[in-house]
């Protein structure tokens, strides 16, 4: 087990370095920069040069890369070039908890609703319950979240006035974003569970369990679920990472002060340090989540351990 984990960590570190390097050079290769002369007509060229020098942008890109890596080794992600007086560490520390809260809630909701729905659909295959949950699942996957967000906002904020259209800090501000975020995962989980469950209940050992005279609850709850849940575990790792690190569309629609908006805004603003910071953070987070999933997998399914 220790060897398995060690190997995975080593792979993660290499991928991380690769990610940082590729992002850094790609970012500098795209046209435009954080400070453009034409945008601010009354800024004198000398002042612009001074600003660029202040952020080290006057150096050759390779030199900038070396400097960046040096600072990164100390855990310093630099200062934002657009959001003045903020370090990237500060930005992440302020916005990640917000996104993580609604993201985690969405994950929990998705599991609580998605797993039972998938099991019911599989067990009552072909029944009305199956049809309904599959239709819901298809809708959940095919309608983009921002459309759902707009519909919910129109219905609950404007027509019924149950929730405010913006604001942050109280439970009432959480509900709609969480609902929007968990719909697609519920749909995915339902489908995953349903298909793997259908496969599992046809296995010989399930027949054996039934033949032994175990109750249906025991057969499903103890024997079937353990195997049927494996694909969901794989899915949950990246899901946790992507939901906890925020969604640009949802955060923009509901004015959630989370990390999601930095993904998009930093790129269109060419805020180099924030692009790097967010990428590194997201990369590291997703790697940790995947690692945890692999470990959990090995724990649930001994076959993985032996294979490796």
């Amino acid at each position: 087990m220790a060897k398995f984990i060690l190997k995975r960590v080593a792979i993660s570190v290499v991928s991380m370095l690769l990610l940082i390097t590729v992002t850094f050079f790609l970012m500098h290769a795209i046209p435009g920069g954080p400070f453009s002369p034409g945008e601010q007509k009354d800024l004198k060229p000398e002042v612009l040069e001074a600003i660029r020098a202040r952020y080290g942008l006057d150096l050759p890109v390779t030199q900038q890369y070396a400097n960046y890596m040096k600072n990164l080794a100390h855990g310093d992600l630099g200062v934002s070039m657009k959001k003045t007086n903020y370090t990237v560490n500060e930005l992440l520390a302020g916005s990640f908890p917000v996104s993580a809260q609604i993201g985690m809630l969405a994950v929990v909701m998705a599991l609580i609703i998605g797993i039972p729905l998938g099991i019911i659909a599989a067990l009552k295959r072909g029944s009305a319950a199956d049809m309904v949950s599959m239709v819901l699942a298809t809708i959940g996957i095919s309608i983009p979240t921002f459309v759902i967000a707009m519909l919910l906002m129109y219905l609950f904020c404007m027509k019924l006035a149950w929730f405010p259209t913006f604001g942050w800090g109280e439970a009432k501000h959480f509900i709609l974003p969480v609902v929007c975020l968990c719909l697609a995962p519920i749909a995915n989980i339902t489908r995953l569970i349903r298909s793997s469950m259908l496969e599992v209940v046809r296995q010989d050992y399930i027949r054996t369990a039934r033949a032994k005279g175990l109750s249906e609850l025991m057969v499903i709850g103890k024997h079937a679920i353990r195997n049927a849940i494996l694909p969901v575990v794989t899915y949950v790792g990246p899901l946790v990472a992507s939901l906890m690190t925020g969604s640009f569309a949802i955060e923009r629609m509901f004015m959630v002060p989370g990390i999601g908006r930095y993904f998009v805004n930093s790129v269109s603003d060419r805020d180099y340090t924030v692009i790097m910071g967010v990428t590194i953070f997201y990369g590291a987070f997703i790697m940790v989540c995947t690692l945890l999933v692999d470990i959990a997998y090995a724990w649930i399914d001994p076959r993985v351990r032996f294979d490796s």
């Binding site: 007509k41 985690m104 929990v108 405010p164």
Partner: protein, 545 residues
């Protein structure tokens, strides 16, 4: 037993979920949540400020978004009056010498910062010294550079002692200008005092209401990054007795669609980031106001590539601006020159007095093309039109393309995202480029200075390739230079008229719109002022039942 265990497990997970929900609501209960909930009996206005400004302090800010906050929490030597013109602010009196270069302001006795500390002429001096110091690297020092030797000080080429900004005593400020300036009171509105000692001690002062000390009609009581800034009436403001509103909540909404929803829901009372849909909905109601802003939207022509001014004029005269405005669903006005509405000539609109210089005239456009040797556009190359890739810019580009096509001029539209657009602009690899400018003060110079020759230089002193360099440009430059030294008001205004005529006659730029600012205000809210630069002021506002 087993059953009890299961029930217990279920209960436990429910509890967990519940605590999680509760945890989300955590933090400080007394805090305002940025929504429109009212503050009890207090008179509160909630205003959507668009997205949060990138910089939240006056030193690093560049954009108008912060300026709106700035002029509600700070007040300069002069301020914008209820009628939208400059009047005395923290100065209660001033004298000026005959050639309009030495302005002496008397600061009100007993002036205070928002924390109750004394505010004297020395604070203005300290502020200027700090703001313009090369090591501060302030993002904008344009207005400060009216002061004698300030340009040199900003560049680190002279000492502070040489700069014409002196406190003669606690209440007297003597400002010597680099050139005569008749509209200096407008400029003095932007000279606000910072609490410099606090700023120097706390690099993070602008993130904390305690250290965010100001002197305007309101002061900051709460700062929630990316959510809102809550202001309360500043009891130390010199004119506090005339401020009726207790609290103004600036909320940051990125999306005009959400802003419209929030306005419809009465969660915000003042909204000024209006989408075409909002304008359509509220166009004919009393809740919507449209006021001129001193800005103009124009197209810059690469005069090096389109060197015949008859072709440039043909491009200008074939633009049907009324149709364009209708297509875009905007409230802008057709630009008939380069000096927009909102700039005054005495008590009148400067534009009305100077008259219309460019109007839609397709026959004239065709004639000009024929005169230039390209009847019906035959033989002309396809021009490259560059613009940003947002919906409005693209729609505008397509409308222009079809208008030009009508006279036989073919264009190719190339769009860029906003962050690369200005870099593309600087490459000068285009024939026509979308452009625009909003001025800073009520004087034609604020728009017309853009085309003076010194602005057309690269850092090494050579002239930019694409820019306007010919006899007309030289004549324009000469006329503009004269306006800096001419002290007689009427003569000076007439010089601007002449200069603008030279510009429009050679057409290195094609005027398109004069900007107007639109704003929605709930009927119970009165006195919200949107001034000529588009800033919103709440100090004259009130809520009437």
């Amino acid at each position: 037993m087993k059953r009890t265990k299961k029930v217990l497990a279920l209960l436990l997970s429910l509890c967990l979920a519940a605590t999680m929900m509760a945890g989300c609501g955590g933090g400080d209960d007394s805090a305002d949540n940025g929504d429109g909930s009212s503050g009890g009996d207090k008179k509160r206005i909630t205003y959507a400020n668009g997205a949060q400004p990138e910089a939240m302090d006056p030193v690093s800010s560049v954009y108008a978004k912060y300026s709106i906050l700035k002029y509600n929490i700070y007040c300069g030597l002069a301020r914008i009056s209820e009628d939208g013109v400059a009047e005395l602010g923290y100065a209660d009196d001033y004298t000026v010498n005959d050639d309009m270069t030495v302005w002496t302001f008397h600061i009100r006795e007993g002036s205070k910062f928002s924390d109750g500390s004394d505010l004297t002429a020395h604070d203005w001096v300290e502020t200027m010294k700090y703001h313009c110091a090369p090591e501060t690297a302030a993002r904008s020092t344009t207005m400060e550079e009216y002061v004698l030797n300030m340009t040199e000080y900003v560049a680190g080429e002279c000492e502070w002692e040489d700069v014409g900004f002196k406190a003669l005593d606690d209440n007297t400020l003597e400002i010597t200008l680099a050139f005569p300036c008749t509209y200096f009171l407008d400029v003095a509105c932007t000279y606000v005092p910072y609490k410099v000692d606090v700023i120097k001690e706390n690099p993070n002062w602008a993130k904390n209401p305690e250290t965010y000390i100001t002197n305007g009609p309101f002061r900051i009581v709460e700062l929630n990054d990316q959510v809102n800034v809550l202001l309360e009436k500043n009891p130390y403001y010199y004119d506090a007795e005339n401020v009726a509103i207790d609290e103004v909540n600036f909320v940051f909404l990125d999306d005009p669609a959400v802003e419209l929803a929030a306005y419809k829901n009465n969660e915000i009372q003042v909204s000024d980031n209006l989408s075409a849909e909002s304008i359509k909905t509220y166009r004919d109601t009393d809740e919507m106001t449209a006021a001129e802003r001193i800005g103009v939207n124009y197209l810059t022509v690469n005069t090096n590539r389109i060197s015949d001014n008859r072709i440039r004029k043909a491009l200008a005269y074939s633009i049907n601006k009324d149709a364009l405005i209708q297509i875009l669903g905007s409230t802008n006005l057709p630009a008939t020159g380069l000096v927009p509405y909102g700039i005054h000539w005495g008590d009148e609109q400067w534009r009305d007095k100077a008259g219309d210089l460019v109007t839609y005239d397709i026959e004239l456009a065709k004639q000009l093309l024929a005169d230039a040797g390209y009847p019906g556009g035959e033989g002309l190359p396809t021009y490259k039109y560059v613009t940003q890739n947002d919906e409005e810019s693209v729609n505008k580009a397509q409308a222009l393309q079809s208008m030009w096509k009508e006279v036989g001029i073919n264009t190719e539209i190339v769009t860029f995202e906003p962050s690369t657009y200005w870099d593309v602009f600087d490459t000068e690899d285009w024939d026509i480029a979308a452009d625009g400018w909003t001025g800073d003060y009520d004087d034609p110079n604020t728009n017309l200075f853009l085309w003076e020759a010194y602005r057309e230089q690269d850092p090494d002193g050579t002239l930019k390739d694409a820019r306007w360099v010919n006899e007309a440009a030289a004549e324009y430059d000469r006329l503009m230079k004269e306006t800096y030294t001419e002290l007689d008001y009427e003569t000076r205004m007439n010089l601007f008229v002449e200069a603008e005529k030279v510009l429009v006659d050679d057409m290195p730029i094609l005027p398109v719109f004069f900007y107007t600012d639109t704003m929605l205000v709930k009927p119970e809210v009165t006195g919200v002022l949107k001034c000529y630069i588009g800033h919103v002021f709440f100090q004259y506002a009130d809520i009437v039942e």
